[in-house]
């Protein structure tokens, strides 16, 4: 039993990382209808920027500077790339997002090179044993950070004037514009928030696996998470991330041996397919309210 719990907890902690990436996707999709293919690339950029800032300044300042870089990226993206595309079909926005992903990866690599870089932000690697279950300080730390981040976002969206405006924009762009909400600025704010989420995800993944090109590929792991959670649902993204993380870990350990292992890599997609069959809006996706 304790082994099961350990597998489960480890899976959940990996799941938090998926949640973070999926959260970035969901935020931008909700606000602007853009499927932000570049979310993974943004995590990579944040990781790379943080590594290079860390060589010349203390951690807190490096984090501030990294968020600064993400803010610049957000405003640049919205005002340069997406401004001329306002009111264009979703497919065009999606193409622009793919272009952005390659642009960000390319720029990141041409500045910092393609080698994997170690990222150490000063969390000691300690393992505790609680009732025969092994817990890692590292995973726990990022679990707490992710939880705080999510709680902060929920309060921001539900309780503040800007959060309310962003929810309005998510529902109906043109109506939001008609009541005086500046659309482009609202989108830029959303991209900044997604940038912050990407930073946290980038730091968490980067300090575990090193900051490397494959970071931008975690975007693909977020796809089944999005389908499970519903592409525009924030609680959905979080919960689905946990389900996928725990599910793939459990599947690997308990089903893997019968089919020769390696189930972890495709199990989430299998889960997503099941959801597409039976619950296409995901667990919490915005069901289209249709008036009859």
């Amino acid at each position: 039993m304790s082994f099961f719990i350990e597998v489960l907890i480890n899976g959940l902690l990996v799941g938090i990382m998926y949640s973070l990436v999926a959260l970035g996707f969901a935020l931008i999709y909700k606000a602007s209808g853009v499927f932000n293919f570049a979310q993974g690339a943004m995590s990579l950029l944040a990781g790379l920027a943080l590594v290079s800032f860390l060589t010349v300044m203390p951690l807190w300042l490096a984090l501030v500077c990294t968020v600064g870089v993400m803010t610049l990226l957000a405003y640049g993206t919205v005002f340069i790339i997406f401004r001329p595309l306002v009111a264009r079909p979703p497919l065009i926005l999606f193409m622009a997002a793919i272009g952005l992903a390659f642009l960000v990866e390319g720029i990141g690599q041409s500045i910092w090179g393609t080698q994997a870089k170690g990222l150490f932000i000063g969390i000691p690697e300690i393992t505790w044993e609680v009732k025969e279950v092994f817990l890692n300080s590292f995973d726990l730390f990022f679990g707490v950070v992710a939880a705080v981040l999510v709680a902060g976002l929920v309060i921001f969206f539900q309780k503040t004037r800007t959060g309310r405006a962003l929810r309005a924009v998510a529902d109906d762009h043109e109506a939001a514009l008609s009541v005086g909400i500046p659309l482009l600025r609202a989108w830029a704010v959303t991209w900044v928030i997604a940038g912050i989420v990407a930073t946290v995800a980038g730091v968490a993944w980067g300090s575990r696996l090193g900051v490397q090109f494959s970071l931008s590929l975690i975007a693909y792991k977020a796809l089944p998470v999005l389908i499970l959670g519903g592409i525009d649902s924030i609680p959905g993204a979080i919960l689905a991330g946990l389900v996928v993380g725990a599910g793939e870990n459990l599947a690997e350990v308990y089903i893997g041996p019968y089919v020769g292992g390696g189930i972890q890599t495709f199990f989430p997609y299998l889960l997503a397919l099941l959801f597409l069959w039976f619950k296409p809006y995901g667990m919490f996706g915005k069901e289209i309210i249709e008036r009859v």
Partner: protein, 269 residues
């Protein structure tokens, strides 16, 4: 001397997607505190006229290519829509367009966005809106996607009021509502005009209702204003009676009388 108009639209032309000419020189005026109606059939250009004034055309890849729009003497046709709202000109779009996943109260509060971060006065405005639309009070925690069409229209008007407007552009407030409800909404519009001193520019297909409540009217066809005048004058105009009010000299017209129905209008569209 007449007071300076609150809104002055001077010979505007609107082109969508760089090629489609929708408005071909529209001019109109709204005096401070007036109710002006803009009548016309589907596709006459009423909605585009309103969106050109509020600058929402730009969000639909439209552009005002000629002419000027002045609000309180200032040119606004090159401004960003939210800046125009901040000056006190707000449009209530066709089809209500409430934010369906927001509660009624949150929806109303989005209307106060341009008033900035200060919370002063916003609570009073909310009370004021609820006093005009008591029905919204009991619905305030319900998502607007689940309220009735009439309540949505009330919510949309209330939301616009939250911005403290001097001029409201209403696009088809009667659309899809039961006649009694239409009457109720129009009565509230008139009260808002009198008590809160909000001028109204009202685009309507329901000509009878609009002429009953407005002081002045413009009639649009094919992207042009073809006729304008006091509501009383318009009501007496033979063409308006025939084509917009469905009346003839002998009362209700019979549609069996096809030849008569094809009578030419006296204006050129």
């Amino acid at each position: 001397m007449e007071p300076a108009p609150l809104l002055k639209v001077n010979n505007i032309e609107v082109i969508y997607e760089h090629v489609i000419l929708v408005l071909k020189g529209v001019s109109l005026e709204v005096p401070p505190g007036g109710i002006v109606s803009l009548l016309g059939a589907n596709g006459a250009g009423k909605t585009t006229t309103l969106k050109a004034i509020s600058n929402l055309v730009k969000a639909e890849r439209g552009e005002v290519t000629k002419g000027t729009v002045e609000f309180e003497g200032k040119r606004i046709d090159r401004m960003y829509a939210p800046a125009v709202v901040k000056m006190g000109l707000i449009q209530i779009m066709e089809g209500r367009r409430t934010f369906e996943h927001l509660t009624v109260e949150d929806d109303l509060l989005t209307g106060a966005y341009t008033r900035g971060h200060a919370t002063k006065g916003i609570k009073e405005s909310l009370e004021m809106v609820y006093s005009y639309f008591p029905r919204l009070v009991e619905r305030k925690n319900v998502k607007t996607g689940y309220i009735s069409g009439g309540e949505m229209q009330m919510c949309a008007i209330g939301r616009a009021l939250m911005a403290k407007p001097k001029l409201m552009l209403l696009d088809e407030p009667s659309m899809g509502l039961a006649p009694l409800l239409v009457q109720e909404i129009f009565e509230i519009i008139v009260r808002l005009n009198k008590e809160e001193k909000v001028a109204m520019l009202l685009a309507e297909q329901n000509a009878a209702m609009a002429l009953q409540f407005a002081n002045y009217g413009y009639i649009m066809e094919n992207g042009r204003v073809v006729l304008d005048g006091d509501s009383e004058t318009l009501k007496d105009n033979a063409d308006v009676r025939e084509f917009y009010l469905g009346l003839t000299e002998i009362g209700k017209k019979s549609y069996r009388d096809v030849k008569h129905y094809k009578r030419r209008k006296r204006w050129l569209a």
